[in-house]
């Protein structure tokens, strides 16, 4: 079946640097994408979303970029902080799936002091 995957399982960045987490999706029918942050012992927490009619969306210190041509999604975190250390998941869905989410396997982000 269709799936969402991530390019890198782990990412280490220096505190204050920018982080970029990538995600590839395979379902061309997907029209809505979400990034989640999951800290140890907690459930996934919504970070930012983007619909397929957009290429870029910005939040507070986070930006999501969507490239539908190559089916690629990225999450950029500006001025990465120790509190950003977590596993980040991208998820996709489309109207034909009862809006069910399909998650990738995640990227572990570690912020180094």
């Amino acid at each position: 079946g269709e799936s969402v995957g991530l390019h890198l399982p782990t990412l280490s960045v220096q505190e204050g640097d920018n982080s970029i987490i990538n995600c590839a999706y395979s379902n061309s029918a997907s029209d809505y994408f979400i990034w989640y942050k999951q800290e140890s012992g907690k459930g996934p927490q919504f970070i930012i979303d983007i619909r397929s009619n957009m290429d870029k969306r910005q939040g507070q210190r986070v930006t999501v970029l969507l490239n539908k041509t190559v089916k690629h999604l990225s999450l950029q975190i500006a001025a990465t902080q120790p509190g950003d250390s977590a596993v980040y998941f991208c998820a996709e869905n489309y109207a034909g799936s009862a809006r069910q989410l399909t998650f990738g396997s995640g990227t572990q982000l570690t912020v180094l002091p």
């Binding site: 907690k42 459930g43 996934p44 979303d49 009862a98 069910q100 990738g104």
Partner: protein, 114 residues
């Protein structure tokens, strides 16, 4: 507003035993989900409820897993008998009807089957 509540937070059982998890969704959320998250992987949907009806249970191993949401609010997920491979975090999520793409997750129940 209060978030999605789950209990217990941790459970250790031996294989072939039974176990049950409880979830209380956010007030007013008609849609409720149960996910299984194996270590190192993303959550995988087990079952989706709309009020007290099942929308999708195609990925629920029905020979051992069961779930119910009798009054359209709280839900329980049961495993009987448990297998070693059932060791995982079981996440409950909820959403408003019509905005199912926006799901709010509980803290999960971490199950270890020995």
């Amino acid at each position: 507003e209060a978030g999605v509540a789950q209990s217990p937070r941790y459970k250790i059982i031996e294989k072939r035993q039974s176990v049950a998890f409880w979830c209380n969704p956010i007030s007013g959320h008609a849609t409720l989900y149960w996910y299984q998250q194996i270590l190192g992987q993303g959550p995988k949907l087990l079952i989706q409820f709309q009020n007290n009806g099942v929308v999708d249970d195609s990925q629920l191993p029905k020979d051992r897993f069961s779930a119910e949401r009798l009054k359209g609010v709280d839900s329980t997920l049961k495993i009987q008998p448990a297998k070693l491979e059932d060791s995982a975090v079981y996440l409950c999520a909820s959403s408003f009807y019509g905005t199912e793409e926006t799901q709010y997750f509980g803290p999960g129940t971490r199950l270890l089957v020995l």
